[in-house]
Amino acid sequence: MISATDIIRSAAAEVCRPWLRHILPHADWTALAQAAPAEAWTLLAHWADTVQAHALFLDPEALRIVPVSTPVEAGRYPGLSPHIPSASLYERMVHDLWGHIADGATDLRPWLDHGNWPLSPPMATRPETRPPGGPPLLTGPEQDDAMIVPLGPIWGRLDEAAHLRLTLHGPYIRQAESLLGFTHKGALTMMRGKSPRTAARFAARLAADATVAHSVAFAHATESAMDVEVPQRAIGLRMVMMEIERIAVHLDNLTEVARLAEAGTVRTKCGTLREILLRATAAAFGHRLMMDCVVPGGVAADIAENGPETILRALGAIASEIPALRRLHDGPALSSRLLGLGRTPGATSGIAGRAAGHAFDVRTHFAPGYGSLLPRVAVLRDGDAAARQHLRLLEIEESLRLIGLTLDLLPSGPTTAALPQASGEGIGCAESSRGDVWHWLRLDHGQIAAVFARDPGWAQWPLAERALRRVEAEDVDLVRASLALPASGVDL
């Protein structure tokens, strides 16, 4: 069989900064899909525009990112899912938004489109109006007498809207099937035709727990496409914001898991530490969640004059509690609930991946600025909920170190670069608290012609369906919280 690298080498290519995007005929696209799993290439994202289908691969051997495309002919392109199962959700999304059909796809049921939009498909060149109502979204249970527990879309206490259907065998979950799309807001359509500066507000609102990560990845993609150099001070401030976001979201997750596991001390401690950090962040950057603080070309505003001290004081409070938090996670209240729960063998990215022995973190290779700080990627082996919570504590410690270093070395100078009315194509990435975020866009004279944002949630939901098998039904909230399952970022 021809190797993936050979297929890429012989293909035509277009500039998609900082890499080349390879244009493959249908036969080569399918051959690449066949070769990818054998060579352990990971599918990072799969999306489309009006004329092409795109895919983003990671070659773990050479540590390079490979964007590829194939033309859509008469509304069809060869599906990836027969060879790469994780492509299935993307193919359903491509069908819902652009109307392209993936030939041979394992599943083409609606995903984002629940039959309620007045236009369909909304991102096609000429969407058609249509009456409301659509086909059923979930197929019936495998057997008639199975016990089915439908959860959501409105569920939990303060949660995102998603639907999970559990098929039970006694008290255990035999099968978990997710359905998303409830929070679809049409963000990609809203971004199209706007300048990157205006569209950044939508990138910042794809998923609030990764608002900085999405903003940074979007800004990156824009700056790559325009070939703009960002001032060093802005790169430093972005890193500070990304690491603050990571700590704050991890603390929120530790609070939530402790609440569900009824571990009151951890819940109170982590909730308090998070609030201390958010107040310091508001004082330093002007917004508690740092929404809209990162913009294409740099950052929206410089850090407040006493901002670094305020941040460092809050970080000191967090650092002093980490040993106690670690002890409490080893204590009976949490370990009895979390050990062995919701294992994720084979996870390859994000917290779930690193808690199961797979050290993938885009900060080490692909995200600018981090190189000189040599970020240490914590990895644990067990892959269960206990490992994920311990990993979060380790990541908080590493983020504390990275923020300290960055603030120490923060160069003075401007915080934004001017954006030209340029045309071009670019890809950007960032490591959010949940995993790797990727943004792709094409600019036409300074306006967005096509765009896609890949939230880590695309990898998290299929993983959750596997992790929930054979878990007791009453632990479903705990597993969901420890995997930090998102909705909005995936729903677009």
Binding site: W117, I154, R157, G186, M190, A208, M291
Partner: protein, 161 residues
């Protein structure tokens, strides 16, 4: 652990307006406590992150008799976030139908007030008011926990008058 924040002053004008509207029905049914059911109609999760902060020691909303409940059937207040996506309209209607009378609807966040940045998208209806009657709105993207708490306490005070 630090002490909770001191309570903030309350806007007397809003209190009076609300009191007039609530007086007729509420007094017999509600005391100085409100059960709140959160309904997500397509939020980006920013409002939820800030609403969760209401439960930490700084805001501690339960000291005012405010608590989040898990079913609209137990709720006095439906607290709605998100621009009301078309895919969640039915969910909001069902939640509203199943909450017992008297009930109050509070829209939290710019999205829930009028659709926010997503106003005009094919996928959203643009705010809670397009589906159910709204009694109180709290703007902000997302609103700070202090603002949400002040609004909920206004409702509580109006309710007790």
């Amino acid at each position: 652990m630090p002490n909770p924040d001191p309570p903030e002053p309350i806007d007397p004008e809003t209190t009076a307006t609300l009191a007039a509207r609530l007086e007729a029905a509420s007094q017999a049914h509600l005391g100085r406590a409100l059960a709140i059911r959160h309904i997500n109609t397509g939020s980006c999760n920013g409002c939820e992150l800030e609403l969760r902060a209401l439960q930490n020691t700084f805001y501690d909303l339960e000291r005012f008799g405010l608590r989040f409940v898990e079913s609209p059937r137990q709720a006095d207040v439906l607290l709605v976030t998100g621009p009301l996506t078309r895919n969640l309209k039915v969910a909001l209607e069902q939640a509203w139908d199943s909450a017992p009378e008297p009930k109050w609807v509070v829209s939290v966040g710019d999205c829930a007030v009028d659709g926010g940045v997503f106003k005009g998208s094919y996928a959203v209806l643009g705010g809670t008011g397009n589906c159910v009657p709204v009694d109180l709105t709290v703007g902000g993207c997302p609103p700070t926990p202090a603002r949400v708490l002040a609004a909920l306490r206004t409702l509580l005070e109006a309710n007790a008058k």
